[in-house]
């Protein structure tokens, strides 16, 4: 077992890795944005008593939680063009698949944060004439956001790692960039090591941020 590591060969491609990282980050940010938005929508719609909303919503949650994210990704990749006639590019497909996959988890976090706000806070809005929507967006959610930050950041980190799945439909993110480089360099060990190191470099700061936020929130120091 004497393998001669040659990272010099990889260093030549540093710009390619950088581009891959940028795509990974872009994809992550967009997924987190739309996934959170969807999650918020679900969390709010779940509060209605209308069963024409509740039943389809329940179905959506159960289905999206049951389908493995990789299967959803590949299924959408092949099916969207057939069903809609739309030729979506792979980046958009990955964005849709991963946002959908994230949404029930996000809604769960948002729901429990909303539920942690005492009933009296709703009443304080009600007696002053705030509408239900105003009470939610002006009184409840701003406080709930503070509660949900640590769990949300963890979910965002998970989604960052999940973006590597998009390589199977040829999104030019970090892992896919690595895969293509192997055919140029014939150095899979160096390439995958580098890919792993870049993920570590992206994730670890976020993990510490999340830990800090968690501590900050519990002693009430983070003003959001």
């Amino acid at each position: 077992m004497s393998y001669t590591w040659n990272f010099g060969e990889i260093w030549k491609y540093k710009e390619v890795f950088l581009e891959g990282s940028v795509i990974t980050m872009e994809l992550t940010v967009l997924i987190c944005f739309f996934g959170t938005l969807l999650g918020l929508g679900i969390a709010l719609l779940e509060r209605t008593n209308n069963r024409w909303i509740r039943i389809p919503l329940r179905l959506y949650i159960d289905v999206t939680r049951a389908v493995p994210v990789l299967v959803l990704l590949i299924w959408l990749y092949y099916c969207i063009p057939i069903f809609t006639g739309l030729g979506l590019d792979s980046f958009a497909t990955a964005l849709i698949a991963l946002s959908i996959n994230m949404s029930p988890f996000a809604s769960e976090i948002i729901r429990s944060a909303i539920e942690s706000i005492p009933k009296g806070q709703y009443e304080s809005g009600q007696v002053l004439g705030f509408t239900k929507l105003q009470t939610m967006f002006r009184i409840i959610l701003p406080q709930a956001v503070k509660q949900m930050i640590p769990n949300m950041v963890s979910l965002y980190i998970t989604m960052l790692k999940f973006t590597s799945l998009a390589s199977v439909i040829a999104v030019n993110e970090l892992l896919h960039v690595g895969n293509t480089l192997i055919s140029n360099t014939y150095r899979p060990l160096e390439v995958y090591t580098t890919v792993a190191l870049v993920y570590i470099a992206l994730v670890i700061p976020l993990t510490y941020l999340s830990k800090r936020l968690e501590r900050g929130v519990s002693i009430g120091k983070v003003a959001v």
């Binding site: 007696v127 002053l128 004439g129």
Partner: protein
Amino acid sequence: MKKKKNQAKLSVSLLGKTNGKREEPPLLEIKDLSKDYSDKPVLKDISFTLNDNEILGVIGPSGAGKSTLLRCISRLEDSTKGNMFFEGGEHGANSDIGIVFQDLQLWPHRTVLQNIIDTLIHVKRYKKEKAIDIGKGLLRQFDLQDKENEYPKDLSGGEKQRVAIARALATNPKLLLLDEITSSLDPELIHELLYYIRSLSKQGKSMVVVSHHMGFIRQLADRVIFLENGAIIEENNAEELFRNPKNERTKKFIEKNLVGML
């Protein structure tokens, strides 16, 4: 025939307060109000009226239904039975009634000034400058000028109380409901609060005040209701009720709570 007409006239003039003018309805009139929580009666046939610029004290043991009564008046709860009239009309949720909860429920993510003016901006749709004007006026009235930009968590207990009252007063309601706002305060702060609430009364506010501090109620209220098990046991003007309670249970309750006398 003629006689009958005269009689009718007489009764009208007896009822009417002022010469020839139409009789003003009381600010708040409650008739046979009952409230059940899943078949458990909490309020039983409560009736009383509250006039303009009057302070009504409500006393009674814990669980008597005092908070429920205030919640029904503020329309946070629907009554099971009975009628409520506000200025003679059937009343719905409106900004003519302000309520301060025992646990205040200030908004922790908003500054003192924002707590007060948010209602003006988002419910009343006032221009921001106008809302700030009103808000600062209230801050001055409650000696909170220098707390304008603080968050509730940085205030003392007495200051929080005053912010909560100022928030309830922002829309200038005619009637203010105060639920046990003295419960977390030491005697000195209760005295202070008494001063602020009296100044409101001088401005013509009507109030329903629930407190287990007998001294607070005695010094503040014009009339007092003693509530027990959801029913009014005794109602009288404040001095009379405290000095000379007619009902044995009222007497017992007041004696037991003499500690609360200032």
